[in-house]
């Protein structure tokens, strides 16, 4: 929505020019209308919402924030609620219900048709991360012995209520899934062909308890519009459509971002969550990592004599730890992301390991060269400083190698033992790395300077 239109609309709302406002709103997309409603004071939402025609209102409702949805539900009569709920698809209704407090849910369930209520209850019973929880029961189904003409007739009669008719599913009397037929095949076929003639029997199916993340990935992999969901007896229970898969993919990515910064998941929006809750989500990992950093500190205190003798050694600790941390972050981020998108698989382990080692070589050459020049320029080039430069260079090389190698081993190792690779990200990696690189650094320094 461009700025000019936004201003015009705000002005109309302020001046309560409702007929004019209505004319503008009905031309817009539901998503944009929902955004507008999100920006106005809550008291005005229901007035403006009522301007919209029924079908559009339902589409807008689905796109709105759950807070605003609650306000609207409370503001409308049972009759209005009923009319709107009638227009919604099952999976959208489930999404809305999941965000509402119990009293509102009871009211919604009272005002929807018995069939809808049955479907909703079915979906709500599935575990949160399963295919069953994101599916819809409104799919187009056909019988094997229908002719194509009969199939079209059925589609035209019932298609309006279906989530999608672009893929139709063929079932027998007991609802066993026999195959699917795309709208293309139906359009290109002769009216007298049977559905059985043109359907595909060997199709990708998922089960109600499959992980929704795996289901979403299947969309990406096979370029599908919809995937059928079957129960244990291979009866068709519902379908998952590509728009829901895209939402799942987005959610999973956001979760990974959070995990990789060593935080716990938060369901609510950032600004709506209290500071105390935020703090709780962050503190556990901070405590763990802080106490493990104390280990590194212990190692350093063991080398007190070393840097009493050569104070300059202490000055290099930040650079060593910093570079190690950044390298580790780079490699682990790429590996974790690669594992998440299936670009990298466990079977690639050796390839990836060797790639990171070769990268370590290239990176160390550049960084060590730059650093050595810097040390010699800054501190002079007598034998003591040259020794220092060598100690630094060697430690840097070892640290970079260790960082990149750990960046591969930790995430892939985690995945191997069925842990989430996103936990093996920078924070954890850095802590382990610090201890190693300090050990190596002071080890080499002691050897070089006979401390």
């Amino acid at each position: 929505m461009d700025q000019i239109s936004e201003n015009i609309i705000s002005r109309l709302i302020q001046n309560k020019k409702y007929p004019l406002l209505k004319n503008i709103l009905v031309e817009l997309n539901p998503f944009d209308i929902a955004e507008i409603l999100g920006g106005i004071p809550q008291e005005q939402i229901s007035t403006i919402f009522r301007l919209l025609p029924k079908e559009l209102a339902a589409e807008v409702f689905v796109e709105m924030d759950s807070d605003e949805q609650e306000v609207l539900i409370k503001a409308c009569t049972d009759k209005e609620l009923q009319a709107m709920m009638d227009e919604l698809y099952v999976d959208d209704t489930v999404d809305i219900i999941e965000e509402m407090p119990a009293t509102v849910v009871k009211r919604i369930l009272r005002n929807i048709s018995p069939d809808m209520r049955k479907s909703i209850n079915l979906i709500l019973h599935y575990p949160d991360d399963s295919a069953g929880s994101i599916m819809t029961t409104e799919y187009a189904d056909l019988k094997k012995n229908m002719t194509v003409s009969e199939a079209f007739r059925r589609i035209r009669q019932t298609g309006v209520d279906k989530e999608t008719i672009y893929t139709c599913y063929v079932t027998d009397e007991s609802r066993h899934l026999l195959g699917s037929v795309s709208i293309e095949k139906l359009l290109y076929a002769k009216g007298s062909d049977t559905v059985g003639d043109i359907m595909t029997s060997d199709i990708i199916t998922v089960h109600t308890l499959d992980d929704k993340e795996d289901v979403a990935k299947a969309f990406d992999k096979y370029n599908l519009l919809a995937i059928p969901v079957a129960d244990q007896e291979n009866r068709l229970v519902g379908i998952v459509t590509v728009d829901d898969a895209i939402d799942v993919i987005q959610e999973e990515a956001e979760e990974d971002f959070i995990k990789m910064a060593a935080m716990q998941q938060n369901d609510e929006e950032y600004l709506k969550t209290k500071s105390v809750i935020h703090a709780k989500n962050r503190i556990i990992w901070l405590l763990v990592l802080m106490l493990s950093a104390a280990v590194t500190g212990k190692i350093i205190s063991g080398y007190e004599d070393a840097f009493s003798a050569i104070p300059l050694l202490a000055a290099f600790i930040p650079m060593l730890m910093g570079t190690g941390g950044n390298c580790g972050a780079q490699s682990s981020t790429m590996i974790i992301r690669g594992l998440a998108t299936d670009e990298i698989r466990l079977s690639h382990f050796i390839r990836v390991l060797f790639k990171e080692m070769r990268l370590s070589l290239l990176i160390s050459v550049v960084l060590v060269a730059v650093n050595t020049v810097r040390v010699l320029l800054q501190y002079g080039s007598n034998p003591e400083q040259i020794k220092l430069a060598i100690v630094m260079g060697l430690s840097l090389i070892c640290t970079i190698f260790a960082a990149n190698i750990l960046g591969v081993i930790l995430p892939m190792g985690a995945k191997k033992i069925k842990l989430d690779p996103a936990m093996m990200a920078a924070p954890l990696l850095t802590t382990v790395l610090d201890a190693c690189s300090i050990l190596i650094f002071f080890g080499i320094a002691s050897a070089m300077f006979h401390l």
Binding site: F257, Y270, R351
Partner: protein, 327 residues
């Protein structure tokens, strides 16, 4: 009537756009449209209505077409929402956003005159979304963008994409090192001071990384806007206080048990509190400011913020140590 895709050469959308193979006018009936689809052997989920200048004037969903009365014209069954289109010079990220926001199956691409030049389909959109998200992850780890998946990128290109930031950050961490050198007297007298540096730096880094990640993602997903700046910064300040309180207590107790030195505990605790709060504030403020002046907020991520926090926390730490221990 296949549209010419050469206009996309060199643009961000090259290779993503499919040609339009037949045109439909507002007067075409539903039956005629379906016949055209059949004879052209080209089923699309969204059909585009154009005028005689080939300008896009409306869209029709295939499902609406199938359900409609065969004699109705496309002008009558077309969707009545504002048209969502893409321009030739739009970038992939904007395309992906449109698909996601409007639940599209197909996105028409028009030139500045409104002439229909092609369309992008949903399976490409999924690919773009995945690539853009991967790019976001990489930016936050201080890696410059790459075109190809990890395994298919040459070692040289991969090293190139990592080395730039590594050099920048390495040189800035030298500043931190120089600060330490300036306090040589302090830690030669009290070597124990050095051993707390990793913990200070790590905790500061993790705190900065936590707040910057959450703020960057908030900005990218449009959950947070610059108008929220003060709310966010204040929130992070409160979180910083809560978190640093816990960390300070735990750490203080640990130091007392391990070293029996209350002054040492005090120094560390104060430095820790200041470091944590500062890290959280910086992690929240920098991405938002970057976004405001048009820089990608993801560049203000963990690596950069950590480096800045390190320098400041070491400075504060040694200052306090000198004051408290009169070094």
């Amino acid at each position: 009537m296949t549209t010419d895709l050469s206009v996309f050469k060199g643009t961000d959308l090259e290779g993503l756009v499919s040609p339009i193979t037949f045109s439909l006018s507002a007067n075409t009936t539903a039956q005629e449209a379906l016949d055209l689809i059949r004879s052209n052997h080209s089923v699309r989920y969204v059909l585009y209505i154009t005028d005689d200048q080939n300008r896009l004037t409306g869209t029709v969903k295939l499902s609406d077409l199938l359900i409609a009365d065969p004699e109705k014209t496309l002008g009558e069954i077309r969707e009545d929402h504002q048209l969502i289109t893409a321009g030739i010079h739009e970038d992939r990220e904007e395309i992906a956003e449109k698909f996601r926001d409007y639940d599209l199956l197909s996105l028409p691409v028009t030139d500045d005159d409104g002439t229909l030049v092609g369309m992008i389909e949903y399976d490409d959109a999924i690919d773009i979304l995945r690539e853009e998200t991967t790019e976001d992850f990489e930016k936050m780890a201080a890696i410059s963008a790459q075109d190809r998946p990890y395994l298919m990128t040459s070692d040289f290109n991969m090293a190139k994409s990592r080395i730039v930031w590594l050099l920048v950050l390495m040189l800035s961490s030298i500043i931190t090192g120089d600060i330490i050198t300036r306090y040589e007297n302090a830690f030669v007298t009290m070597p124990i001071l050095i051993s707390f540096i990793p913990m200070l730096m790590d905790t500061g880094g993790n705190c900065g990384s936590q707040s910057s990640t959450i703020v960057i993602r908030g900005i990218t997903t449009k959950e947070l806007r610059f108008s929220d700046f003060f709310k966010v910064v204040f929130k992070e300040f409160k979180i910083g206080i809560l978190v640093s309180a816990v960390l300070a207590v735990v750490n203080g107790i640990r130091i007392l048990i391990q070293y029996h030195d209350p002054l040492l505990a005090l120094t560390i605790v104060i430095s820790l509190i200041i470091t944590v709060i500062f890290a959280k504030l910086l992690g929240a403020a920098l991405p938002m400011l970057a976004d405001k002046i048009g820089i990608d907020p993801a560049t203000m991520a963990s690596p950069l913020i950590t480096t800045i926090v390190d320098t400041c926390s070491v400075l504060i730490y040694f200052r306090f140590a000198c004051i408290i221990f009169q070094l």
